[in-house]
Symmetry: C2
Subunit: 391 residues, 2 copies
């Protein structure tokens, strides 16, 4: 079976706010082969990603992503791997290509799973989809009182694990940050897992991060996420050596397997967080999950958008036992909420699992897509390279 | 002084061939502030880079690059640094942004240098622009006889150092590769420095690379460049431990300071190769040059395009003494050759130097730009975000 067509759909809320909420727009990919189709979501800036799929070739190692995908055979997982290697080779110098490949890879897994009537996790070699402990992923409130209210809401919604991130955290002095963490702990209760996401706020300043450790350990925070930019491995390792109970988490910025491996090999993270919509898709993410397990590092998904992205992000570590943590979008915008007809709900015990139905187990809702579709057109040298497809 | 405008110009040869020659298209950036302007070149896929400058915001850490640049104060080098940090922070999740920043950073240095009447290298703190030994950078011939002829041509053109790369090298068996290297050595003569660029052909396969080492050392090759993709640091380090006389070179894929630092810290390279048009510009490249010197690693530019790019790539290590090697475009296409009116010529002794004139010391030729300009238009939600500016 050949890949007959690949279509990108750029969706956005009518108004996109200047806040750290990645669910305000979306880039969906549809791959069609014969009578089957699969869907994926890139966790990426839509316009540059579309441009990276359709742009003219610059040279042999800077080709548009489309050149390595359209018309390729897609008979099974080995073709997904082969196409991924082709993209990496042919688009080596096209930086955005890793983010584009991510959605494509997901869509190819979805398509192959649906065609074979198997959930993706089974095609990846897992025997069972194990329950995960979802954590509600939220932005810090503008002040401790707001954070307290948000934490209480998450607790009353039955979440046994809650993550706060971004907002004012790390930007003021250590005292304000301590009050934010104290409020979060008070709101979620003493039994819940509390996670803190610094959103790379200290870039590579180990001293600034170290000042916050005492408060994080005082309130029994499980992990401190992204104190630094992904590349600052020396800073990660140095900070890790100052941690007593809190562990470092990071890796969402990884746009290939190697970057994630380096966070494990050289950055001393305790948790490796992978966004399948950025790292190169389910294929690269599975490789990270396997490598992390070998090295005693805990794999966790990074997902802040739709339940389509959530399903894709659960597949790579679906079979890992022991109620692993799982990032669960909690405050997503209407676009992300409406995007799929089905959703990955929480079971009576609060856990979530990768769906048992074929492929990713859920598909985008065309009606919702039409509602949020952003008309886009790209013309180069008199030729229209992209025009928003109809859905 | 504020940044009044930033304009991108996409240039391309009438026909772009499927070969490893990055001089077939170009993306130029012009920054204007008051009565001054500066020029830079991104070593990047033009269309996705333009899209990354103008795209709508996705969220607070995924803004278009333009949002961090337009209207900013540009009074001196400290503003270039500040704007670079703004771009990294505001476009953290926009992968292509590092390549866009690269050309912008170069253009800002050019502008500030011209305004202050100083060459960029002096603003970077160097006291003198030291001579470099240029190496002719060429693709391997399709067979050893072709390579021999190319090597003889470079030698007769007075190059004391020659690099061959890409083409068939590494794709056949070790015997063919040995013949290619033997032909290159025969052609350049026994006194010249011979360099080999594998163009990431073995991805991360240390065994495949190791098989070629004996021939490289037999023909006294100075460095083996990019045996693996930039991220495969474990592979670099493992191969380095098998090298006796040949050193490893790499780093051109680095799109920020941290990636380059990791090649030094964990990849055991002997030469770190930086493309100012990819790493984040002259600012990030200077940081790499300083770090390399601290660690006893030799910094070399990566440049395969125009003399505008060559000047930008010489600035970060202009003051390093001892006739360092310098990549010198030798087979560039007409576009890259015609792009600048002035050129960085070789002195009587064959050496080249960063120009002493203000800024980068040369500017694009508008007539050549008009000849190769590619009409481009991007429209999102009924609004034209980009249209090729006139020149």
């Amino acid at each position: 079976m050949k890949i007959d067509s690949v279509d990108f759909f750029y969706l956005a809320m009518p108004q996109v706010l200047d806040i750290g909420d990645g669910s305000q727009d979306a880039l969906l990919v549809r791959v069609r082969s014969g009578s089957h189709e699969g869907w994926g979501e890139c966790e990426a800036a839509p316009l540059p990603s579309i441009a990276a799929f359709v742009c003219p070739m610059s040279h042999s190692a800077c080709k548009p992503v489309g050149a390595s995908v359209l018309g390729q055979a897609l008979d099974g997982p080995e073709d997904i791997d082969r196409i991924g290697r082709l993209v990496r080779e042919n688009s080596l110098d096209l930086l955005q290509s890793d983010h584009v490949l991510s959605g494509l890879d997901i869509a190819m897994w979805d398509l192959v799973g649906k065609r074979e009537g198997e959930p993706v996790w089974r095609l990846l070699g897992w025997g069972k989809s194990e329950p995960k402990t979802p954590y509600a992923s939220m932005l810090f409130g503008g002040n401790p009182a707001e954070t307290l209210a948000k934490a209480r809401k998450a607790a009353s919604d039955g979440f046994g694990a809650v993550k706060f991130g971004w907002g004012p955290y790390g930007r003021g002095d250590g005292k304000e940050d301590r009050e934010q963490v104290a409020a979060a702990r008070e709101g979620v209760g003493s039994g819940a897992a509390l996670l803190v996401d610094a959103g790379t706020v200290w870039v590579e300043d180990v001293g600034a991060a170290r000042k916050r450790l005492a408060a994080l350990e005082e309130f029994h925070v499980t992990w401190l996420e992204e104190p630094f930019v992904s590349g600052a491995l020396h800073a990660y390792r140095e900070l890790a050596s100052s941690c007593r109970t809190v562990k470092l988490a990071g890796g969402e910025g990884s746009h290939d397997f190697h970057m994630a491996r380096q966070m494990i090999d050289y950055g001393s993270v305790g948790f490796i967080q992978i966004d399948t919509g950025r790292v190169g898709g389910i294929s690269a993410a599975k490789r990270v999950a396997d490598y992390a397990r070998e090295r005693g590092v805990i794999y966790v998904n990074h997902t802040f958008t739709s339940h389509l992205a959530l399903s894709a992000s659960l597949q790579p570590y679906a079979g890992v036992e022991g109620n692993s943590l799982c990032e669960y979008p909690f405050e997503a915008r209407a676009l992300a909420v409406e995007l799929t007809a089905g959703r990955i709900g929480r079971a009576a015990d609060g856990s979530v699992r990768a769906p048992d139905s074929p492929g990713l187990g859920l598909s985008p809702n065309p009606k919702a897509m039409r509602k949020y579709l952003v008309d886009t057109e790209i013309t180069v040298a008199g030729k229209t390279l992209y025009r928003t497809p109809s859905i």
